[in-house]
Symmetry: C2
């Protein structure tokens, strides 16, 4: 099937949102933990972790200011600290439930059954059940003028995870913790490892290294 | 295991790159097709498709100007057109091989065995074997000053895919085409569908809808 620009324009708006969101492919389901200056904690699912750089270690995510997830954005801009949490596949219903429109004063931790936890006095809350917990400090907000979305970049302050899933060369085997993946706004996946390949060179084909 | 900022700083540089890249989570393996103004075609693997917006439909990707993938960037800035291609899991070695440092005049299509193909006079080449083919027009280049990476945003001009994987509500079931996923720079995955969930509301838990 071929679709052109005018076919996309003619799509009913909700259909197009579902189509373009899911067509964007697989991502890790990302639960962002944050807390307002007046102490209300928040946990919300995103699917847009962006690897910005390794030196220094920085991750980004995209935010639409008009969505239910604006609490996350305002907490980050207010307090500078937030967390990324990866959960196990079996927690997909709880993870999805964090997307419900709870009032600002209501904690998604309480409502969805993730346990609010703190590590080494880091300001923002983590989900205790998360198998990978990453604490970030806000670094930069980039306004994407073309459609009003916002790219939030943070530097990694701390990480808690199982050391057993890190290979000798630094590779993190997320599949060993059964980390939840997703597409679009409501579809969840489990990822099966195929293999790691050697560094590709023009003169020879890659080999399986793991 | 807990790691703090100073632990990350102390990591050997290549170890840290592997660690931070793979920790960033699952992504669809994305082959970007492009062609220089003087006619040299290029195909290169990226893992950073970013859903920018659905109305109008726009996707982004991140580019590090100092990598082997600079041909892709210069082709896009020169010609304005490029393609996103998703391939099947079984093509993971060919997909990885597109990351080898071929000379600018060498076509990764030829060297890796993907078939260069064109759709409706669209300027940039697609990989014929790709199960999802998306043609994009360059819209905006955003310099991320904090570390010199570049966000390239494009609007979707055309799409070719199997209509059978699109649900009634617009959802694209990429797993039905066995679309290749990856983490980091060299690890490949197959994704198993768990389920889609109903729109989350505070007053009730999500149900499986598919």
């Amino acid at each position: 099937m071929q679709l052109n620009k005018s076919d996309l324009e003619k799509m009913e708006q909700r259909y197009r949102a579902t189509f373009i969101n899911s067509l964007a492919g697989f991502k890790t389901a990302l639960l962002i933990g944050s807390k307002s200056a007046d102490g209300f904690s928040n946990l919300a699912i995103f699917n847009s972790l962006i690897h910005i750089g390794a030196n220094p270690p920085m991750y980004g995510f995209l935010c639409r200011p008009d969505t239910v997830k604006r609490d996350t954005l305002s907490n980050i801009l207010e307090t500078n600290y937030y967390t990324f949490n990866y959960v196990k596949s079996e927690d997909y219903k709880k993870a999805h439930q964090t997307s419900a429109k709870y009032e600002r004063e209501v904690s998604e931790f309480e409502k969805t059954g993730f346990t609010e936890t703190y590590i080494n006095n880091f300001f923002a809350p983590f989900a205790q059940e998360a198998v990978v917990k990453i604490g970030l400090r806000f670094e930069e907000k980039i306004d994407i003028k073309i459609n009003g979305t916002i790219l939030i970049i943070g530097s990694i302050e701390n990480i808690e995870m199982n050391a057993d899933i890190i290979s000798e060369d630094g590779f993190v085997a997320l599949e060993k913790e059964n980390v939840l993946a997703c597409t679009g706004l409501d579809a969840y996946y489990h990822s099966d490892f195929i293999g790691r390949l050697s560094y590709a060179k023009p003169e020879r084909w890659p080999e399986k290294i793991d």
